[in-house]
């Protein structure tokens, strides 16, 4: 390690999780020192400074963090195989620095890392890792360069948990199981997808309400949801339960979403791709925006954080563990091909290609609903920028979305272009709010870092990982966020003006971020026979050893500390 510093001089540092008033861009310019991959305190006068980069008042933020983006694992890879036409259209050749690759909404692994880094993102979280697919997922994410990554293990439709709940398992047994899964699959959180519903579909049930008994186990989605949310809270896992609610995409699902928030009853939880769960049934077409009601419920519930899952117009593919919903939607596939897979008494995988059309009322209203949610949820610390990549559109549309949030006239111009019925059915045009740069920094950095428990990311205080992004303060916020002037990962410059830049060391690799709560290993006495009698992989082969990630020489493991009673709660 070098003892030399890199000095980023004279930037306007927008660091909402930093020192007091850290987000105030009117504050005096602040120098940032980077050393050994971390942000350093201002050094003594005789310190060796290797490089000085003059920022001339440019805007400086921590590296951005995508809290929910399907970037790797079995279903993403199957999506690539399903759509060779996408990859034919969007390919890139090797250029000595970059490996070649292809894809826009299901980009190949190397391209994924490059595009994120070029956009100033330095971490992304794969939100739907089935435990049975965990090894594949980590192999794939091991080939995503530059950025840090982590995975949420999907639980809540796995037969072990459902069977134990039906048999009257105690909360502490569930806690041990959840902790064991986090360790065994090298995950940083737990996601529940259509609790109970994916399993119910395997029993030929096509829909499951929050308080409807599962056809085989007799337990309700409510019970699964609250038990898992309690488990993560009890275990001190910083990221609360990541919830994909029941009845995704169905008009009228706003009621189950509000009931879910009520069912959590103050337990911390993260509701993901909320846009897809905020639909009413009003109007001639029985499809309406319930964004105001949902935003109101979120505003009243400080235990709840959300990401939006904004849609953008154009071709994409929807990829979800929610095979119950995906099978129901398979008739909408465009092009007309789709995949549904029942997986390992564990979960499922559904892929339905889709084209969001701005002239179609339903799609245009979905677009408006997402923006309404962003603008009506008041606390930027609890709402994060996502498209649920690739479900609402590719992550590369984030700069465009930032402009929609920051620039009301641009937003209203776009509103005027889409299906005209939407303006009449949405309050979007009347919303005056424009996000500030500080609010953008919160929703894309500080907020996700806080809700994931990443203590050394998402801010620029001394000791933080030196993931730093420098922007030209352009009036066109889309241009500004699409091509940052500088991106540093672990203190090394990786991109300039929106393009990867050679730095003499190749592109480099980020860490895999995991959490490891304590648990009673006696749970394995119950799990081992379960694996032998009911699964097709043995317990010892299911569990992923650290060496499987570390020995590839492609980034380390970074362990998020669990919360203790003395930590300020979320």
């Amino acid at each position: 390690m070098s003892d030399a510093y890199t000095l980023l001089r004279g930037g306007r540092v927008c660091d909402p999780a930093g020192p007091a008033a850290g987000g105030d861009l009117q504050a005096p310019r602040r120098d940032l020192y980077l050393k050994d991959g971390r942000i350093a305190a201002p050094p003594p006068d005789d310190a060796r400074i290797d490089a000085v980069i003059e920022l001339d008042g440019r805007v400086v933020m921590a590296g951005a963090i995508d809290i929910h983006s399907h970037i790797g694992g079995g279903k993403v890879n199957l999506a690539r195989l399903l759509l060779p036409e996408e990859h034919r259209q969007h390919g890139s050749a090797p250029d000595g620095l970059r490996r070649s690759g292809s894809g826009l909404f299901t980009p190949s692994s190397f391209v994924t890392g490059y595009r994120y880094a070029e956009m100033g993102y330095t971490a992304a979280f794969e939100p739907a890792m089935l435990p049975s697919n965990a090894r594949h997922t980590h192999l794939e994410l091991g080939d995503v360069p530059i950025i840090d990554k982590g995975c949420y293990a999907v639980l809540g439709n796995d037969d072990f948990l459902l069977e134990r709940l039906a048999a009257g398992a105690t909360q502490s047994e569930v806690n041990d199981y959840v902790a064991w899964i986090l360790h065994a699959t090298q995950a940083v959180g737990v996601k529940v997808v259509n609790p109970g519903g994916i399993s119910a579909f395997k029993f030929n049930q096509r829909r499951l309400e929050l308080d409807e008994a599962h056809p085989h186990y007799g337990i309700t989605p409510r019970r699964i949801l609250t038990t898992l949310a309690t488990a993560l809270s009890d275990l001190g896992v910083p990221h609360p339960l990541h919830v994909h609610c029941n009845n995704l995409g169905i008009p009228g699902n706003e009621s189950v979403t509000r009931d879910t928030i009520a069912a959590l009853d103050g337990l911390p939880a993260h509701l993901t791709h909320l846009q897809f769960h905020s639909y009413g049934t009003e109007g001639d077409r029985r499809f309406s925006s319930a964004a105001a009601e949902i935003a109101e419920a979120v505003n009243r519930s400080p235990n709840i954080s959300v990401d939006v899952g904004q849609i953008v117009f154009g071709q994409t593919i929807t990829a979800s563990a929610d095979i119950m919903s995906q099978f129901r939607n398979s008739g909408l596939a465009s092009p007309r091909k789709w995949v549904c897979t029942d997986i390992e008494c564990d979960g499922g995988c559904g892929l339905v290609p889709f084209r969001y059309r701005d002239k179609a009322f339903v799609n245009a209203l979905q677009w408006a609903i997402g923006l309404e949610l962003f603008l009506l949820i008041e606390d930027p610390w609890r709402v994060y920028l996502t498209t649920d990549h690739p479900n609402g559109g590719p992550f590369t549309s984030y700069p465009h979305l930032i402009r929609l949030l920051m620039d009301r006239s641009f937003r209203n111009e776009q509103l005027a272009r889409i299906n005209p019925a939407v303006a009449a059915h949405s309050r979007l045009g009347s919303i005056e709010r424009e996000y500030t740069l500080e609010e953008i920094a919160i929703m894309t950095r500080a907020g996700p870092a806080r809700v994931l428990g990443l203590r050394d990311r998402g801010h620029l205080r001394p000791g933080a990982v030196a993931d730093v992004v420098v922007y030209d303060d352009l009036p066109d916020r889309e241009a500004m966020f699409a091509a940052p002037a500088w991106v540093f990962k672990n203190g090394r410059p990786v991109a300039r003006n929106g393009r990867l830049t050679p730095n003499g060391e190749g592109t480099g690799w980020g860490d895999t971020i995991v959490v490891r709560p304590e648990f009673d290993p006696a749970i394995e006495r119950r799990l081992k026979p379960w694996f032998e009698d009911h699964q097709t992989v043995r317990l010892g082969n299911f569990r992923i050893a650290d060496g499987e990630i570390l020995d590839r020489g492609r980034g380390g493991l970074s362990i998020v500390p669990t919360l203790t009673a003395s930590d300020p709660c979320f």
């Binding site: 079995g74 993403v76 890879n77 690539r80 195989l81 399903l82 060779p84 990859h87 390919g91 890139s92 050749a93 090797p94 000595g96 490996r99 070649s100 690759g101 292809s102 894809g103 980009p107 190949s108 692994s109 089935l130 049975s132 697919n133 090894r135 594949h136 192999l139 794939e140 080939d143 037969d159 579909f201 395997k202 029993f203 030929n204 085989h216 099978f327 596939a333 007309r336 091909k337 789709w338 995949v339 549904c340 897979t341 029942d342 997986i343 390992e344 008494c345 995988c349 032998e532 009911h534 699964q535 097709t536 992989v537 043995r538 010892g540 082969n541 992923i544 050893a545 499987e548 590839r552």
Partner: protein, 438 residues
């Protein structure tokens, strides 16, 4: 890497060993190791596993045109051959994830076409997927749930060993009576049907017509005619009724036994049948068979480049064409001027070609002729750790090292990495090239 472990560092008996020798990827093998380092499967292995685990770890030399040489010399010769190639290809690809990754990286450097030895079977399913999608389930789901199996193919024991013991009629199941399973075997009459199964003798080239007739019957229509593909209509009526009445039916096929010229059409028809049955009950498709981690090779290529195998890498953006870049056709047409063949696992018979060829193979791999360069490599899952993908597409399984590497063989990934290093200084192939669309 730590110091080389000795023979005593490995326990004499090992449990839950993963078998890398076919797409079933059984992970419950018990393996004994004798003092000489020889392995013996003592429980849960099929005949193939027993014979391949038992192959001794022989010392093996590198060869240039049949002359024994040190590894460095073989690498230099291989690099020279590849550096001068205009139309290189990398085939076989029977290896673990790391070996495949290294082969693809080398292909990208060379502008080479990549394909797997067993890709014909793989592409039946893949081309059907590219056209119409798929509706499937994995082994673990079916073991516990499937109460009806309609299986197209032949020689199930050879292509999918232990399918019946592990999946169709397992010792225990969560949601069905494991012993009460019913089923139909559709294909040539090649032996007695297992208990509970009925054999419907049929010509497998007619599988698309049979599956289409079943789709009609499941949907409540009546196809014309008395027989389809050799099966009497009343028998098909019974199969369709069974699919409708099943709580969770399976339509499975041994891909390698389908019509080589139109296996994709059959798989599309199977998929339509599955989707039709799902209108009222549950049903899933299941592709069976495969060796040499073919599915894994395709997966790694897909995630690293966005395209399946049968692609040309590195000469511009990845270019996939399932017809044009079928390696067997390219070799037959004389369109490859240097071939690197990777066969660290079984299932990748070395092609009988006179084109300059570099073979990276496990010791004992049969060779039709002396290749230009032969470099023996260690066997994943026996001599070194790694991972492979199971054929049903979700589980990747860890491979362990089971014996000390007394023969000192390098891994395929190490050899390929060394080749890449040797080629690092050479100019990239010209990005412009002639294209000829088929």
């Amino acid at each position: 890497m730590d110091s080389e472990p000795g023979e005593t560092d490995f326990p004499p008996s090992m449990g839950d060993v993963v078998c890398p020798f076919c797409a079933m990827a059984c992970d419950d093998l018990a393996v004994m190791r004798d003092r000489g380092g020889r392995l013996r499967v003592t429980d849960n292995g099929c005949a193939r596993a027993r014979s391949l685990f038992a192959l001794p770890a022989l010392p093996a030399h590198c060869f240039i045109k049949g002359r024994a040489v040190p590894l460095d010399e073989a690498l230099d010769a291989a690099a020279a051959l590849l550096r001068n190639a205009a139309s290189p290809a990398i085939g076989g690809l029977a290896a673990d994830t790391e070996g495949i990754s290294a082969a693809l990286a080398l292909a990208e450097r060379l502008g080479a076409v990549v394909d797997h030895a067993a890709s014909d079977s793989l592409f039946h399913g893949l081309r059907a997927l590219q056209v119409s999608g798929a509706m499937t389930a994995t082994f673990g789901e079916l073991r516990n749930r499937a109460d009806l199996f309609v299986l197209f193919g032949a020689e199930f024991d050879r292509h999918a060993p232990r399918l019946f013991d592990r999946i169709v009629r397992p010792p225990t199941a969560l949601f069905r009576e494991a012993a009460a399973v019913r089923g139909f075997l559709v294909g040539p009459g090649d032996g007695p049907a297992p208990e509970g199964f009925e054999r419907l003798t049929a010509d497998l080239t007619q599988a698309p017509a049979i599956a289409a007739a079943l789709s009609q019957l499941v949907a409540g229509e009546r196809p014309r005619g008395d027989r389809v593909g050799g099966i009497a209509m009343e028998d098909l009526v019974r199969v369709a009724a069974a699919l409708r009445e099943a709580r969770f039916g399976v339509v499975g096929w041994i891909a390698a036994t389908l019509d080589p010229a139109a296996g994709d059409v059959a798989v599309e028809a199977f998929n339509r049948l599955v989707v039709t049955a799902n209108a009222s009950t549950r049903c899933a498709g299941l592709a069976l068979g495969g060796k040499g981690n073919a599915l894994g090779a395709n997966y790694v290529c897909a995630w690293q480049y966005g395209v399946p195998l049968r692609s040309r890498l590195g000469a511009g953006p990845p270019e996939h064409d399932p017809l044009r870049y079928r390696l067997k056709s390219l070799l037959a047409g004389g369109e490859v001027d240097a071939l690197l063949w990777l066969s660290a696992l079984n299932g990748a018979e070395v092609p009988d070609t006179r084109k300059p060829m570099i073979v990276l193979a496990r010791p004992g791999q049969p060779l039709p002729r002396d290749p230009e360069v032969l470099i023996p490599v260690a066997v994943p899952g026996l001599d070194h750790a790694g991972s492979i993908h199971r054929g049903d597409g979700v589980a990747a399984l860890p491979l362990r090292r089971l014996r000390s590497n007394t023969s000192g063989l390098p891994t395929a990934a190490a050899v390929l990495g060394a080749l890449l290093d040797r080629l690092a200084g050479s100019p990239l192939p010209a990005p412009l090239r002639e294209t000829a669309h088929v």
